[in-house]
Point group: C2
Amino acid sequence: MKLYTSHRAPNPRRVRWVMAEKGIEGVEIVEIDLLTGEHRTPEYRARVGVPHVPALELDDGTTISESVAICRYLEAMHPEPNLFGRDPREQAVIEMWTRRCEFYLANPIMLNVRHSHPALAALEATQLPQVAEYNRLSAEKFMRTLDRRLAEHAFIAEDRFTMADMVAVVGLDFARRIRYRPPEELTRLARWMEACRARPGAKAGV
Amino acid sequence: MKLYTSHRAPNPRRVRWVMAEKGIEGVEIVEIDLLTGEHRTPEYRARVGVPHVPALELDDGTTISESVAICRYLEAMHPEPNLFGRDPREQAVIEMWTRRCEFYLANPIMLNVRHSHPALAALEATQLPQVAEYNRLSAEKFMRTLDRRLAEHAFIAEDRFTMADMVAVVGLDFARRIRYRPPEELTRLARWMEACRARPGAKAGV
Protein backbone atom coordinates (compact mmCIF):
# COMPACT_ATOMS: atom_id res chain seq x y z
CA MET A 1 0.00 0.00 0.00
CA LYS A 2 1.00 3.61 -0.71
CA LEU A 3 -0.19 6.65 1.25
CA TYR A 4 -0.19 10.03 -0.50
CA THR A 5 0.05 12.52 2.32
CA SER A 6 1.27 15.95 3.38
CA HIS A 7 2.75 16.68 6.79
CA ARG A 8 1.36 20.25 6.63
CA ALA A 9 -2.35 19.32 6.45
CA PRO A 10 -4.72 18.07 9.17
CA ASN A 11 -6.65 15.37 7.25
CA PRO A 12 -3.54 13.33 6.42
CA ARG A 13 -2.53 13.55 10.07
CA ARG A 14 -5.69 11.58 10.99
CA VAL A 15 -4.44 8.66 8.89
CA ARG A 16 -0.89 8.84 10.25
CA TRP A 17 -2.26 8.90 13.80
CA VAL A 18 -4.45 5.82 13.18
CA MET A 19 -1.44 4.02 11.69
CA ALA A 20 0.62 4.91 14.77
CA GLU A 21 -2.13 3.81 17.24
CA LYS A 22 -2.38 0.47 15.47
CA GLY A 23 1.35 0.02 14.83
CA ILE A 24 0.77 -0.35 11.07
CA GLU A 25 4.05 -0.62 9.17
CA GLY A 26 5.10 -1.30 5.59
CA VAL A 27 3.00 1.44 3.96
CA GLU A 28 5.00 3.48 1.44
CA ILE A 29 4.69 7.19 2.30
CA VAL A 30 4.57 9.60 -0.69
CA GLU A 31 4.86 13.23 0.42
CA ILE A 32 2.75 15.67 -1.65
CA ASP A 33 3.60 19.40 -1.52
CA LEU A 34 0.29 21.27 -1.30
CA LEU A 35 1.83 24.74 -1.44
CA THR A 36 3.39 24.11 -4.87
CA GLY A 37 0.15 22.44 -6.02
CA GLU A 38 1.49 18.90 -6.42
CA HIS A 39 -2.02 17.60 -5.64
CA ARG A 40 -3.37 19.50 -8.65
CA THR A 41 -1.07 17.95 -11.29
CA PRO A 42 -2.74 15.81 -14.02
CA GLU A 43 -0.73 12.77 -12.79
CA TYR A 44 -2.04 13.08 -9.24
CA ARG A 45 -5.63 13.72 -10.35
CA ALA A 46 -5.53 10.75 -12.73
CA ARG A 47 -4.42 8.52 -9.87
CA VAL A 48 -6.70 9.79 -7.06
CA GLY A 49 -9.61 11.32 -9.01
CA VAL A 50 -9.68 14.47 -6.85
CA PRO A 51 -7.01 17.04 -5.87
CA HIS A 52 -7.01 15.93 -2.23
CA VAL A 53 -4.66 14.37 0.29
CA PRO A 54 -4.62 11.90 1.93
CA ALA A 55 -5.20 9.04 -0.52
CA LEU A 56 -4.44 5.37 0.04
CA GLU A 57 -3.49 3.21 -2.95
CA LEU A 58 -4.31 -0.45 -2.27
CA ASP A 59 -2.29 -3.29 -3.75
CA ASP A 60 -5.09 -4.04 -6.28
CA GLY A 61 -4.79 -0.48 -7.65
CA THR A 62 -7.95 0.90 -5.97
CA THR A 63 -7.30 4.38 -4.57
CA ILE A 64 -9.30 5.62 -1.56
CA SER A 65 -9.52 9.31 -0.71
CA GLU A 66 -11.42 10.80 2.28
CA SER A 67 -9.49 10.42 5.52
CA VAL A 68 -12.33 8.84 7.55
CA ALA A 69 -12.92 6.17 4.86
CA ILE A 70 -9.17 5.41 4.86
CA CYS A 71 -9.06 5.19 8.66
CA ARG A 72 -12.07 2.84 8.74
CA TYR A 73 -10.37 0.63 6.12
CA LEU A 74 -7.24 0.50 8.27
CA GLU A 75 -9.39 -0.47 11.28
CA ALA A 76 -10.93 -3.36 9.28
CA MET A 77 -7.41 -4.59 8.43
CA HIS A 78 -5.99 -3.95 11.94
CA PRO A 79 -8.87 -4.09 14.47
CA GLU A 80 -6.86 -3.29 17.63
CA PRO A 81 -6.84 -0.94 19.44
CA ASN A 82 -10.47 -0.29 18.49
CA LEU A 83 -11.24 3.29 17.35
CA PHE A 84 -14.61 2.96 15.52
CA GLY A 85 -16.64 0.87 18.00
CA ARG A 86 -17.02 -2.79 18.95
CA ASP A 87 -20.77 -3.25 18.34
CA PRO A 88 -23.48 -1.44 16.33
CA ARG A 89 -24.52 0.84 19.23
CA GLU A 90 -20.92 1.91 19.96
CA GLN A 91 -20.24 2.33 16.24
CA ALA A 92 -23.27 4.62 15.90
CA VAL A 93 -22.35 6.76 18.93
CA ILE A 94 -18.73 7.08 17.75
CA GLU A 95 -19.73 7.93 14.16
CA MET A 96 -22.25 10.51 15.42
CA TRP A 97 -19.59 12.24 17.53
CA THR A 98 -16.93 11.91 14.83
CA ARG A 99 -19.22 13.64 12.36
CA ARG A 100 -20.14 16.37 14.87
CA CYS A 101 -16.44 16.96 15.63
CA GLU A 102 -15.72 17.10 11.91
CA PHE A 103 -18.57 19.39 10.82
CA TYR A 104 -18.85 21.70 13.85
CA LEU A 105 -15.20 21.85 14.97
CA ALA A 106 -12.57 20.65 12.47
CA ASN A 107 -14.21 22.18 9.38
CA PRO A 108 -14.83 25.66 10.84
CA ILE A 109 -11.30 25.66 12.31
CA MET A 110 -9.89 24.81 8.89
CA LEU A 111 -11.86 27.68 7.32
CA ASN A 112 -10.73 30.04 10.09
CA VAL A 113 -7.08 29.14 9.42
CA ARG A 114 -7.40 29.22 5.62
CA HIS A 115 -8.99 32.67 5.78
CA SER A 116 -6.39 34.04 8.26
CA HIS A 117 -2.95 32.52 7.68
CA PRO A 118 -0.80 34.56 5.25
CA ALA A 119 0.92 31.44 3.83
CA LEU A 120 -2.45 29.86 2.98
CA ALA A 121 -3.52 32.66 0.65
CA ALA A 122 -2.20 30.31 -2.06
CA LEU A 123 -4.97 27.79 -1.23
CA GLU A 124 -7.74 30.34 -0.69
CA ALA A 125 -8.23 32.63 -3.69
CA THR A 126 -10.02 35.29 -1.61
CA GLN A 127 -9.26 35.39 2.10
CA LEU A 128 -12.12 37.07 3.97
CA PRO A 129 -11.69 38.15 7.63
CA GLN A 130 -15.49 37.86 8.14
CA VAL A 131 -15.37 34.19 7.08
CA ALA A 132 -12.47 33.58 9.48
CA GLU A 133 -14.36 35.22 12.35
CA TYR A 134 -17.70 33.51 11.64
CA ASN A 135 -15.98 30.11 11.66
CA ARG A 136 -14.00 30.85 14.83
CA LEU A 137 -17.26 31.62 16.62
CA SER A 138 -18.92 28.44 15.24
CA ALA A 139 -16.01 26.31 16.40
CA GLU A 140 -16.08 27.90 19.88
CA LYS A 141 -19.80 27.20 20.20
CA PHE A 142 -19.05 23.50 19.69
CA MET A 143 -16.02 23.66 22.03
CA ARG A 144 -18.47 24.64 24.78
CA THR A 145 -20.67 21.63 23.89
CA LEU A 146 -17.62 19.39 24.18
CA ASP A 147 -16.56 20.98 27.47
CA ARG A 148 -19.99 20.11 28.95
CA ARG A 149 -19.81 16.57 27.55
CA LEU A 150 -16.29 16.11 28.99
CA ALA A 151 -17.54 16.99 32.47
CA GLU A 152 -19.13 13.52 32.55
CA HIS A 153 -16.90 11.51 30.22
CA ALA A 154 -13.13 11.00 30.00
CA PHE A 155 -13.34 11.10 26.20
CA ILE A 156 -15.91 12.41 23.73
CA ALA A 157 -17.86 9.39 22.46
CA GLU A 158 -17.01 6.57 24.88
CA ASP A 159 -14.89 6.31 28.01
CA ARG A 160 -11.83 5.55 25.90
CA PHE A 161 -9.97 7.32 23.07
CA THR A 162 -11.82 6.90 19.74
CA MET A 163 -11.90 8.35 16.23
CA ALA A 164 -14.11 11.20 17.51
CA ASP A 165 -11.37 12.44 19.90
CA MET A 166 -8.76 12.16 17.21
CA VAL A 167 -10.72 14.20 14.66
CA ALA A 168 -11.41 16.86 17.32
CA VAL A 169 -7.85 17.22 18.58
CA VAL A 170 -6.35 17.22 15.07
CA GLY A 171 -8.76 20.04 14.27
CA LEU A 172 -7.83 22.00 17.40
CA ASP A 173 -4.11 21.49 16.77
CA PHE A 174 -4.44 22.92 13.27
CA ALA A 175 -5.55 26.22 14.84
CA ARG A 176 -2.07 26.50 16.40
CA ARG A 177 -0.89 27.68 12.97
CA ILE A 178 -2.60 30.99 13.69
CA ARG A 179 -1.56 30.86 17.39
CA TYR A 180 -5.18 30.24 18.36
CA ARG A 181 -5.96 28.82 21.82
CA PRO A 182 -9.44 27.67 23.00
CA PRO A 183 -11.16 29.88 25.62
CA GLU A 184 -9.37 29.38 28.97
CA GLU A 185 -12.55 28.74 30.95
CA LEU A 186 -13.05 25.43 29.08
CA THR A 187 -11.01 23.49 31.62
CA ARG A 188 -12.49 20.03 30.84
CA LEU A 189 -11.65 20.57 27.18
CA ALA A 190 -8.08 21.50 28.19
CA ARG A 191 -7.71 18.39 30.39
CA TRP A 192 -9.00 16.11 27.59
CA MET A 193 -6.82 17.81 24.94
CA GLU A 194 -3.74 17.21 27.11
CA ALA A 195 -4.66 13.51 27.50
CA CYS A 196 -5.03 13.11 23.71
CA ARG A 197 -1.81 14.98 22.92
CA ALA A 198 0.11 12.79 25.37
CA ARG A 199 -0.60 9.68 23.25
CA PRO A 200 2.42 8.49 21.26
CA GLY A 201 0.30 8.50 18.07
CA ALA A 202 -0.24 12.26 18.40
CA LYS A 203 3.26 12.90 17.08
CA ALA A 204 2.75 11.00 13.81
CA GLY A 205 2.50 13.00 10.60
CA VAL A 206 2.94 16.41 12.22
CA MET B 1 -37.13 2.37 18.53
CA LYS B 2 -38.37 5.91 17.81
CA LEU B 3 -37.38 8.05 14.84
CA TYR B 4 -37.62 11.83 15.18
CA THR B 5 -38.00 13.02 11.62
CA SER B 6 -39.45 15.71 9.35
CA HIS B 7 -40.92 14.99 5.93
CA ARG B 8 -39.76 18.41 4.69
CA ALA B 9 -36.00 17.87 5.17
CA PRO B 10 -33.53 15.84 3.10
CA ASN B 11 -31.45 14.21 5.87
CA PRO B 12 -34.44 12.45 7.47
CA ARG B 13 -35.39 11.19 4.01
CA ARG B 14 -32.10 9.25 3.89
CA VAL B 15 -33.18 7.26 6.96
CA ARG B 16 -36.72 6.67 5.68
CA TRP B 17 -35.30 5.48 2.35
CA VAL B 18 -32.92 3.00 4.05
CA MET B 19 -35.81 1.71 6.18
CA ALA B 20 -37.89 1.20 3.01
CA GLU B 21 -35.03 -0.56 1.12
CA LYS B 22 -34.59 -2.95 4.02
CA GLY B 23 -38.28 -3.36 4.83
CA ILE B 24 -37.73 -2.23 8.45
CA GLU B 25 -41.01 -1.97 10.34
CA GLY B 26 -42.07 -1.30 13.92
CA VAL B 27 -40.18 1.99 14.35
CA GLU B 28 -42.34 4.68 15.94
CA ILE B 29 -42.27 7.81 13.74
CA VAL B 30 -42.34 11.16 15.57
CA GLU B 31 -42.87 14.07 13.16
CA ILE B 32 -40.97 17.26 14.12
CA ASP B 33 -42.07 20.58 12.58
CA LEU B 34 -38.89 22.46 11.62
CA LEU B 35 -40.66 25.60 10.44
CA THR B 36 -42.22 26.21 13.86
CA GLY B 37 -38.89 25.35 15.53
CA GLU B 38 -39.99 22.14 17.27
CA HIS B 39 -36.38 20.88 16.99
CA ARG B 40 -35.20 23.87 19.04
CA THR B 41 -37.42 23.30 22.09
CA PRO B 42 -35.66 22.48 25.40
CA GLU B 43 -37.43 19.07 25.45
CA TYR B 44 -36.10 18.09 22.04
CA ARG B 45 -32.56 19.35 22.77
CA ALA B 46 -32.53 17.53 26.12
CA ARG B 47 -33.43 14.29 24.34
CA VAL B 48 -31.21 14.54 21.24
CA GLY B 49 -28.43 16.88 22.40
CA VAL B 50 -28.56 18.97 19.21
CA PRO B 51 -31.37 20.79 17.36
CA HIS B 52 -31.23 18.37 14.42
CA VAL B 53 -33.46 15.81 12.71
CA PRO B 54 -33.29 12.90 12.14
CA ALA B 55 -32.55 11.25 15.48
CA LEU B 56 -33.05 7.61 16.39
CA GLU B 57 -33.88 6.69 19.97
CA LEU B 58 -32.83 3.11 20.74
CA ASP B 59 -34.67 0.91 23.23
CA ASP B 60 -31.84 1.37 25.80
CA GLY B 61 -32.40 5.16 25.71
CA THR B 62 -29.33 6.02 23.59
CA THR B 63 -30.20 8.65 20.99
CA ILE B 64 -28.26 8.78 17.71
CA SER B 65 -28.27 11.87 15.52
CA GLU B 66 -26.43 12.22 12.17
CA SER B 67 -28.30 10.52 9.34
CA VAL B 68 -25.34 8.48 8.03
CA ALA B 69 -24.60 7.09 11.52
CA ILE B 70 -28.29 6.13 11.86
CA CYS B 71 -28.32 4.47 8.43
CA ARG B 72 -25.16 2.48 9.22
CA TYR B 73 -26.74 1.33 12.50
CA LEU B 74 -29.84 0.16 10.60
CA GLU B 75 -27.57 -1.72 8.17
CA ALA B 76 -25.86 -3.52 11.08
CA MET B 77 -29.30 -4.58 12.38
CA HIS B 78 -30.73 -5.43 8.92
CA PRO B 79 -27.82 -6.32 6.61
CA GLU B 80 -29.83 -6.94 3.40
CA PRO B 81 -29.97 -5.45 0.83
CA ASN B 82 -26.42 -4.24 1.41
CA LEU B 83 -25.91 -0.46 1.08
CA PHE B 84 -22.56 0.17 2.85
CA GLY B 85 -20.34 -2.57 1.32
CA ARG B 86 -19.69 -6.27 1.83
CA ASP B 87 -15.94 -6.22 2.53
CA PRO B 88 -13.41 -3.60 3.66
CA ARG B 89 -12.47 -2.55 0.10
CA GLU B 90 -16.12 -2.06 -0.94
CA GLN B 91 -16.89 -0.31 2.34
CA ALA B 92 -14.03 2.13 1.76
CA VAL B 93 -15.04 2.89 -1.84
CA ILE B 94 -18.69 3.39 -0.83
CA GLU B 95 -17.80 5.61 2.15
CA MET B 96 -15.45 7.68 -0.04
CA TRP B 97 -18.20 8.30 -2.63
CA THR B 98 -20.86 8.83 0.05
CA ARG B 99 -18.70 11.53 1.63
CA ARG B 100 -17.95 13.15 -1.74
CA CYS B 101 -21.68 13.15 -2.62
CA GLU B 102 -22.46 14.63 0.77
CA PHE B 103 -19.79 17.36 0.88
CA TYR B 104 -19.62 18.34 -2.81
CA LEU B 105 -23.25 17.82 -3.86
CA ALA B 106 -25.83 17.49 -1.05
CA ASN B 107 -24.34 20.21 1.20
CA PRO B 108 -23.93 22.89 -1.49
CA ILE B 109 -27.44 22.09 -2.82
CA MET B 110 -28.82 22.51 0.70
CA LEU B 111 -27.08 25.90 1.02
CA ASN B 112 -28.31 26.94 -2.41
CA VAL B 113 -31.91 26.12 -1.42
CA ARG B 114 -31.65 27.67 2.05
CA HIS B 115 -30.30 30.88 0.59
CA SER B 116 -32.93 31.03 -2.20
CA HIS B 117 -36.27 29.64 -1.04
CA PRO B 118 -38.60 32.32 0.45
CA ALA B 119 -40.14 29.86 2.96
CA LEU B 120 -36.68 28.95 4.32
CA ALA B 121 -35.81 32.49 5.39
CA ALA B 122 -37.01 31.29 8.82
CA LEU B 123 -34.09 28.82 8.97
CA GLU B 124 -31.47 31.13 7.46
CA ALA B 125 -31.19 34.43 9.34
CA THR B 126 -29.55 36.19 6.38
CA GLN B 127 -30.24 34.81 2.93
CA LEU B 128 -27.48 35.82 0.53
CA PRO B 129 -27.94 35.40 -3.25
CA GLN B 130 -24.12 35.19 -3.66
CA VAL B 131 -24.01 32.22 -1.28
CA ALA B 132 -26.83 30.54 -3.24
CA GLU B 133 -25.00 31.08 -6.54
CA TYR B 134 -21.57 29.99 -5.26
CA ASN B 135 -23.07 26.75 -3.97
CA ARG B 136 -25.05 26.08 -7.15
CA LEU B 137 -21.81 26.33 -9.13
CA SER B 138 -19.96 24.05 -6.67
CA ALA B 139 -22.71 21.44 -6.89
CA GLU B 140 -22.70 21.59 -10.72
CA LYS B 141 -18.95 21.05 -10.79
CA PHE B 142 -19.43 17.80 -8.89
CA MET B 143 -22.46 16.84 -11.07
CA ARG B 144 -20.03 16.87 -14.02
CA THR B 145 -17.64 14.61 -12.07
CA LEU B 146 -20.54 12.21 -11.44
CA ASP B 147 -21.64 12.34 -15.09
CA ARG B 148 -18.13 11.21 -16.16
CA ARG B 149 -18.11 8.47 -13.51
CA LEU B 150 -21.55 7.25 -14.62
CA ALA B 151 -20.32 6.83 -18.20
CA GLU B 152 -18.49 3.71 -16.97
CA HIS B 153 -20.63 2.59 -14.00
CA ALA B 154 -24.36 1.95 -13.58
CA PHE B 155 -24.20 3.51 -10.10
CA ILE B 156 -21.77 5.84 -8.35
CA ALA B 157 -19.63 3.67 -6.06
CA GLU B 158 -20.25 0.09 -7.19
CA ASP B 159 -22.31 -1.50 -9.97
CA ARG B 160 -25.34 -1.58 -7.69
CA PHE B 161 -27.37 0.99 -5.73
CA THR B 162 -25.55 1.99 -2.50
CA MET B 163 -25.60 4.67 0.18
CA ALA B 164 -23.59 6.98 -2.12
CA ASP B 165 -26.35 7.01 -4.76
CA MET B 166 -28.99 7.61 -2.14
CA VAL B 167 -27.21 10.59 -0.59
CA ALA B 168 -26.66 12.08 -4.06
CA VAL B 169 -30.23 11.69 -5.34
CA VAL B 170 -31.78 12.92 -2.07
CA GLY B 171 -29.56 16.00 -2.44
CA LEU B 172 -30.58 16.53 -6.06
CA ASP B 173 -34.28 16.06 -5.24
CA PHE B 174 -34.09 18.74 -2.54
CA ALA B 175 -33.18 21.25 -5.28
CA ARG B 176 -36.63 20.69 -6.81
CA ARG B 177 -37.95 22.99 -4.06
CA ILE B 178 -36.46 25.90 -6.00
CA ARG B 179 -37.42 24.29 -9.36
CA TYR B 180 -33.76 23.58 -10.07
CA ARG B 181 -32.85 21.01 -12.74
CA PRO B 182 -29.28 19.73 -13.42
CA PRO B 183 -27.66 20.88 -16.69
CA GLU B 184 -29.36 19.02 -19.58
CA GLU B 185 -26.12 17.89 -21.21
CA LEU B 186 -25.41 15.60 -18.22
CA THR B 187 -27.27 12.69 -19.81
CA ARG B 188 -25.58 9.91 -17.81
CA LEU B 189 -26.51 11.74 -14.60
CA ALA B 190 -30.12 11.98 -15.86
CA ARG B 191 -30.26 8.22 -16.70
CA TRP B 192 -28.84 7.31 -13.26
CA MET B 193 -31.18 9.74 -11.43
CA GLU B 194 -34.19 8.14 -13.16
CA ALA B 195 -33.02 4.64 -12.13
CA CYS B 196 -32.68 5.75 -8.48
CA ARG B 197 -36.03 7.56 -8.43
CA ALA B 198 -37.77 4.45 -9.81
CA ARG B 199 -36.88 2.47 -6.69
CA PRO B 200 -39.83 1.93 -4.34
CA GLY B 201 -37.74 3.30 -1.42
CA ALA B 202 -37.46 6.68 -3.16
CA LYS B 203 -41.02 7.53 -2.15
CA ALA B 204 -40.43 7.05 1.60
CA GLY B 205 -40.32 10.12 3.83
CA VAL B 206 -40.99 12.62 1.04
